[in-house]
């Protein structure tokens, strides 16, 4: 040690003092302020980062976002219960909404909020509303496959002929929403068999973007994901979509399942009015059109808004009929854990 003991002691105490000051600023209101509306957001972060400033400007409200994943946030809200700091909850997929709804934490939405959304995408008790939709698709590598090689049903991917040839990302809420649709449409036994087949055959990857890249690079012949990953890539630079194409199952197959992004207001929120204002705006034509024109390329649910015509039209998707409030997240997780996917 070259410094004298006293000097280094002084230095230590100065460092201590300044750090404690920083800590107290952090925990006080100085840095974080007190927002008008707290949104727990599990929809794509980038989309909300584009959208929220528009709402803030129009309403004059100050919105704070907390980002996370669907089921993680749904469970966190359930755990928080009455003490939840959240006013609004937004998800990518509806099973997460069902978890919070089953815990009785949502408040019934006023007519104004759901007026513009078709009834199919609002649960009958009107505790939340859909605001965007995404279609399940299979992507395939155009160098090794043709449209004719693709199976008629998503259930066929469990067949041994797909051994090592199909990629999917079981840990994300996206795939779990697809499983919940299979469960609802085909029943528990068929879902179990399907998941076991996928576990044996499939190539497990980190997320849907990696699904797309694996298909594009020829690592696998096909992959299960949602439509917009491929369209977004094509829109931006086409790096991953130029050797791949989309296969829409259609024909009410479970593989044509439309997953709904949901929005709901927490009953515990003291900002009911602001929250209603936000949801009414979110389902209104202006915000729906803004989302349709954003990078996201998900289907707006308000019929007055329209998506880029390059994307397969909403009316041609032929999705199966699924009651949005019946999709069961926890049972899906149990089945997937049983099949060794989680």
């Amino acid at each position: 040690m070259t410094t004298s003991p006293r000097r280094s002691a002084t230095r230590v105490s100065v460092a201590l003092a300044s750090t404690l000051l920083t800590a107290s600023t952090l925990s006080g209101c100085g840095v974080f302020g007190s927002p008008d509306l707290v949104i727990y957001n599990a929809q794509h972060e980038q989309l909300l980062d584009e959208l929220i400033p528009l709402f803030e400007e129009e309403s004059g409200l100050d919105v704070e976002l907390r980002h996370g994943k669907d089921l993680e946030m749904a469970n966190q809200i359930t755990e928080e219960g009455e003490d939840s700091p959240a006013d609004v909850f937004l998800t990518e997929n509806s099973p997460a909404m069902t978890i919070v709804d089953n815990a009785g934490l949502f408040t019934e939405l006023p007519e104004a909020v759901t007026a513009t959304i078709p009834d199919d995408y609002v649960p009958s008790d009107r505790t939340w509303t859909g605001f965007l939709a995404r279609s399940t698709v299979a992507m395939y590598n155009t160098e090794s496959m043709t449209e004719a090689d693709m199976p008629a049903s998503i259930l066929d991917f469990a067949d041994p002929e797909w051994q090592g040839r199909v990629a999917f990302s079981p840990t994300g809420a996206d795939f779990q929403a697809i499983v919940s649709a299979v469960l609802e449409l085909e029943g528990e036994e068929a879902t179990r068999t399907w998941l076991e087949g996928l576990e044996a055959n499939g190539v497990i990857v980190q997320n849907n973007l990696v699904v797309m890249q694996s298909v594009d690079s020829g690592e696998v012949d096909a992959g299960i994901a949602y439509h917009y990953y491929w369209y977004r890539d094509r829109e931006e630079n086409g790096t991953d979509s130029d050797t791949s194409a989309l296969h829409f199952f259609g024909d009410q197959d479970p593989g044509a399942f439309l997953s709904i992004s949901g929005a709901g207001i927490l009953a515990s929120s003291e900002k009911q009015e602001e929250a209603e204002e936000f949801l009414t705006w979110l389902t209104g034509t202006e915000a729906q059109q803004a989302m349709a024109e954003s990078y996201a390329l998900e289907y707006p649910l308000n019929p007055d808004a329209s998506l880029d015509p390059a994307v397969k039209p909403f009316g041609e998707l032929e999705p199966p009929q699924v009651d949005v409030s019946s999709l069961n997240g926890p049972q899906v997780t149990d089945l997937m854990t049983e099949a060794g996917l989680l």
């Binding site: 230590v12 750090t19 952090l26 704070e64 359930t78």
Partner: protein, 501 residues
């Protein structure tokens, strides 16, 4: 503090009891767990072996031979400490997506973690008394045999401690392994948590992980044995005579250079490449600044809180030895056996049920950091206090100083360097912490690590690059502080730090 540290373990234990033995067995005895166990154990063993070999070889080359440019190499070889493992993983996988699975994980983790072995071995080599080796030579032993029989045994604590630290880090590693698509218990717990929160399967996995950590801690304790290699006097303060490498000088220098290129050249190249070429690269100054400020503030606050919390624990353990103080000290290591996600989850549940007002405040987050990283501060500060002779306190008392004045004027200055080293280690750990931060941070807080993570997991490599770069820059001062092993106090603290058990 010790009680707080037990919250996560109590959480896991009580949940395991709630699950009950039958369901627990069903959750554990399934193929997925076997796969995770195989992955986790093989990767941990392979990386511990590789980092020991690499760390030892590099330390001997740099410290004990006439390798050209030794001082420069030393700096470059420690530098990977400033590159978080998940940034390194991102660098490799974004250059070539085929780098994944076991091979990729082994490569990236070894390159990120070897300084944990290299640094304590270097520090130990510097402190060894060359007279012992000279005596061996004078008795006719060859240099190789002398190294094997005289030097190597003395390096054992440093090597074992380093290997243990690599193992513990690896068991808790989430970011790098998730990016490299190699599932282990920690990544699987995270996936489970994402689906079920507070779920039985996740907790069962955490239980298995705790057992793995205990096995590791016991194995290290056992291998270390009871033998002590301490010497009595301080010995002569001089360096050992460097080994003449002869014609091997340049090829070996090139090999060391290759390690440096792989360990910091690749991440540097990858970062710069993405900064320049990434389509999603942008410099949102406001967001970058906000993330930078909250990272530094949280890391500083956490480092100070953790180091302060370590002082009483260490004081009891060193100055008032007894079973009670030992239990208190050891209990702080328990949380080390759990990944941030489990500690975070335990605190979410505990704070919501007991003290809801602290939920999602910076204070709770700092408490989580203290629980996670207290062991780093404890071992480091302990080494410093062990070296501060009690007799000095007694003299101060004899000269009429009260206990507080003694602490301020005698003890504190003596342990100041180890407080600094401990705080530096904690700072490095906090600035790269991901999972607990994601769960517990106040609404609206973003740190460099969380922002980096959200960009890189959406494969927006270009957007992730500025955050990764800032993370590296923020880590540099703490790394430099740790690197200056020249002063004996710091040298010891680094050595001892690697030997938590």
């Amino acid at each position: 503090m010790a009680l707080l540290a037990l919250v996560p373990l109590a959480y896991v234990a009580s949940y395991v009891v709630i699950i009950g033995p039958v369901d627990l067995w069903q959750l554990i005895a399934r193929p997925r767990i076997a796969e995770l166990l195989r992955n986790t154990v093989t990767l941990a063993l392979a990386c511990m072996a590789a980092t020991v070999v690499l760390g030892l070889a590099l330390a001997v080359l740099v410290e004990r031979t006439d390798l050209p440019g030794r001082r420069l190499w030393h700096g470059l070889l420690v530098a990977p400490l400033a590159v978080p493992a998940f940034v390194n993983g991102y660098a490799w996988v974004s250059l070539d997506r085929s780098i994944n699975g076991f091979g990729g994980a082994f490569l990236v983790v070894t390159l990120s973690y070897y300084p944990l072995v290299y640094l304590p071995v270097v520090a130990m080599l510097r402190r060894l008394d060359p007279a012992l080796e000279e005596s061996a030579w004078s008795l006719g032993h060859s240099r190789t045999r002398t190294f094997r029989t005289v030097v190597l045994p003395q390096l054992r604590p440093a090597l074992l401690g380093g290997a243990l630290l690599v193992g513990l880090h690896l068991l808790a590693e989430f970011g790098a392994l998730s990016l490299l698509r190699f599932p282990t218990f920690t990544t699987a717990i995270y996936d489970q948590y994402g689906s079920t929160f507070n779920g039985a399967a996740a907790t069962a996995m955490a239980g298995v992980l705790v057992l793995l950590c205990l096995v590791l801690l016991l194995a290290e304790l056992r291998l270390r044995g009871d033998r002590r290699y301490a010497r009595l006097g301080r010995g002569a303060a001089r360096s050992a005579v460097p080994l003449d490498l002869g014609t091997w000088r340049w090829p070996l220098a090139a090999t060391v250079g290759a390690v440096v290129v792989l360990a910091i050249g690749v991440p540097a190249f990858s970062l710069v490449r993405w900064l320049l070429a990434g389509t999603s690269t942008e410099f949102p100054l406001g967001e970058l600044t906000q993330a930078l400020v909250s990272t530094v503030a949280l890391a500083l606050a956490g480092a100070v809180a953790t180091t302060l919390a370590a002082i009483p624990v260490v004081w009891l353990a060193v100055r008032h030895r007894g079973w009670a103080s030992t239990v208190i000290e050891r209990s702080t290591y328990v949380a080390n056996a759990l990944p941030g996600i489990v500690v975070g989850l335990a605190l979410v549940v505990a704070s919501l049920r007991v003290v809801p007002v602290v939920y999602q405040t910076a204070g709770l987050l700092v408490a989580a950091y203290a629980i996670l990283f207290l062991p780093r501060a404890v071992v480091t500060v302990r080494a410093g206090l062990e070296q501060a002779p009690v007799v000095l306190d007694d003299v101060a008392h004899g000269l009429g100083l009260g206990p507080l004045a003694t602490a301020r004027r005698v003890t504190l200055p003596l342990i100041a360097p180890s407080l600094g080293a401990g705080a530096a280690l904690v700072f490095l750990a906090i600035s790269t912490e991901l999972t607990a931060t994601l769960m517990l941070s106040p609404i609206g807080t973003s740190t460099l690590a969380t922002e980096f993570w959200s960009a890189s997991s959406e494969l927006r490599y270009g957007a992730a690059a500025p955050y990764a770069l800032l993370l590296v820059l923020v880590s540099i001062p703490a790394t430099v502080l740790l690197m200056r092993t020249d002063s004996p106090a710091t040298a010891t603290t680094v050595v001892e730090e690697r030997v938590p058990a």
